[in-house]
């Protein structure tokens, strides 16, 4: 039931922002355009019938080399949860390889702070307006973004500045 309400609400207010809807395994998710993300999040949180008050998670993935890459290489997934209706909604945003930036939602949910830092650290997506966008889990010397598909996994050590030019050790 809430599924229809969410759809109606988004169709009514953000018609032009929705790319498509996906319902894989009964999990409603919306692909939305990047520029509308902040407004949609704020509206979903404030709308009294929906009240997506919890931001459960922000994660990202890299579609490099996949058929889905043509829609944009990176995908950022916002995992919203409504306490009142016990309902989960995923918002997915595709970002082009040339411009992996997106608005921050830290002003809506404080909890987004570390989640966005982690996505920035591991996937290299910049959150515009984030108050403290620093690396969080990887060391400062580590170059590159480990979760990107073009970051080699075949090195025994992660690539630091001191072993960058050593030949890779293949571990299969």
């Amino acid at each position: 039931m809430l599924e229809d309400k969410v759809r109606e609400f988004l169709k009514k207010n953000f018609e032009e922002a929705i790319v498509r809807e996906d319902n894989f395994r009964n999990q409603q998710s919306f692909y939305i355009k990047r520029d509308y993300l902040y407004d949609i999040c704020r509206a979903l949180k404030a709308e009294p019938e929906l009240e997506f008050v919890i931001l459960s998670d922000i994660c990202s993935l890299d579609w490099l080399g996949d058929v889905e890459e043509k829609e944009g290489r990176f995908e950022v997934i916002y995992n919203l949860y409504s306490l009142k209706s016990k309902y989960r909604l995923l918002l997915k945003v595709r970002l082009a390889e040339s411009d992996p930036t997106i608005d921050t939602v830290t002003t809506i949910w404080q909890g987004a702070n570390w989640m966005e830092r982690e996505v920035f650290d591991l996937m290299g997506i910049t959150f515009v307006g984030h108050p403290d966008l620093r690396k969080i889990v990887t060391p400062d010397e580590l170059e590159g973004y480990p979760l990107r598909k073009d970051y080699p996994l075949t090195y025994e050590m992660p690539q630091f500045s001191y072993n960058k030019n050593e030949p890779p050790e293949v571990i299969l």
């Binding site: 894989f24 395994r25 459960s56 890299d62 909890g111 570390w114 989640m115 889990v137 979760l147």
Partner: protein, 384 residues
């Protein structure tokens, strides 16, 4: 004055560093630094067959291995659209609830130790040993059990499983009373915890807290009740809630949660039906060993699953479970190959830890230790 607390500090429960800016003994600003234990589990999972990811999940929250296994297995089963037999559901519920008790026991022991009650640690570890023995009887491993599989369990439950669990049901309630006699009215413990690390319900929601940290502030959100998974809708239990959102409330909630877990275990043990310990799904779940030794098809399936794995359909699922620390979620994206395209773990203690500055700023430095303890972090999970 700036003071570094950690990374090698016994009260930070692992390699956590907190940069404290102090004015006298008052904390002006606290900045947690994490990542000392980052092992890249999410990246490594992308290079492994699905069933090879399970041992890595144990190593995230090493105090609650079964919960991590369960979350991953449920997520992959959701991706595949598999339904579990009753016996598997009940066995999983019993084992994850035992895990919750074991994790909370370690928590209450170490937390009390941080606050100066040394004997608590020894008592709590004594009781935990019984649960660890059950892990060992089930899987052969004491800590990194890796007992759950996609599609069921690794082996059938041991013969004396029921006897062992019944023993726990008998012993632990008494011991919980002992703990509460030691701590609840202990003057030192009360003065170090009541009114310390307060976070309001509004802030807790805004900071995405989950688990006992959220419920300590009085917000009724437990994944087991809100979005039941793995048959939790069949069991009767209460969700304890706090009022003040301080360290003492979180302590009370965890103690009560252990009692509720015992209640669930009791119901599950009584209702556990006989039956297979794995679902019948050729090509996805390993066939029984007798069949492998006697039937050609089973042998082929066994060989193919071990070498090639299985290929879930294209798509992405999110599965959340209530781990002892909070909402543990797995977001698994499949591109139709035999390896996950992306596995994201929503780590409860990572996100709970991000609210640490909010809880300690403006309070005494000694409170930082109490608050870190009350968040119940495991750095293996924070950094992954």
């Amino acid at each position: 004055m700036t003071l570094n607390m950690g990374p090698q500090h016994p009260a930070t429960h692992g390699v956590l560093r907190v940069e404290l800016e102090l004015d006298g003994e008052t904390v002006v600003k606290a900045t947690p630094h994490v990542g000392y234990l980052h092992t890249g589990i999410e990246k490594t999972a992308e290079a492994k067959l699905y069933y090879k990811v399970i041992p890595m999940t144990d190593r995230m929250d090493y105090l609650a291995p079964m919960s991590n296994n369960l979350g991953f297995c449920l997520a992959v089963e959701k991706l595949l659209g598999l339904e579990m037999p009753e016996r598997v559901v009940y066995a999983r519920v019993i084992l994850t609830e035992l895990t919750r008790i074991a994790s909370h026991l370690v928590w209450v022991g170490t937390h009390a130790l941080d606050l100066g009650a040394m004997s608590m640690l020894l008592y709590a570890f004594r009781e935990r040993e019984m649960i660890i023995d059950i892990y060992e009887a089930c899987s052969g491993q004491r800590m990194m059990s890796t007992y759950f599989r996609v599609g069921g369990l690794a082996y059938d439950l041991p013969d004396d499983f029921e006897k062992r669990v019944k023993n726990i049901l008998k012993v632990i309630p008494e011991r919980l009373k002992d703990y509460e006699r030691l701590l609840n009215d202990n003057k030192i413990f009360r003065s170090r915890t009541i009114g310390v690390g307060v976070i309001s319900a509004e802030d807790a929601i805004n900071c995405s807290l989950t688990g006992p940290c959220l419920r300590g502030s009085g917000v009724n959100y437990d994944v087991r009740k809100a979005n039941p998974y793995c048959g939790y809708e069949k069991f009767e239990f209460d969700v304890p809630l706090g009022k003040n959102g301080d360290v003492y409330d979180r302590y009370l909630i965890r103690m009560e949660e252990m009692r509720q877990s015992l209640r669930i275990i009791k119901q599950a043990l009584e209702g556990m039906p006989p039956g297979p310990y794995r679902v019948h799904a050729p090509g996805i779940v390993l066939p029984p060993k007798e069949d492998v030794l006697s039937k050609m098809e089973s042998l082929i399936f066994h060989f193919k699953i071990i070498t090639e794995g299985f290929k879930p359909p294209r798509g992405a699922v999110y599965q959340a479970i209530e781990s002892p620390k909070g909402e543990l979620g797995y977001y698994i994206s499949s591109d139709g190959t035999n390896k996950p395209h992306r596995m994201r773990v929503r780590p409860p203690s990572f996100i709970n830890l991000s609210a640490l500055p909010k809880m300690v700023e403006g309070r005494l430095m000694a409170d930082v230790i109490a608050v870190i303890g009350s968040i119940d972090i495991v750095l293996g999970e924070v950094d992954r």
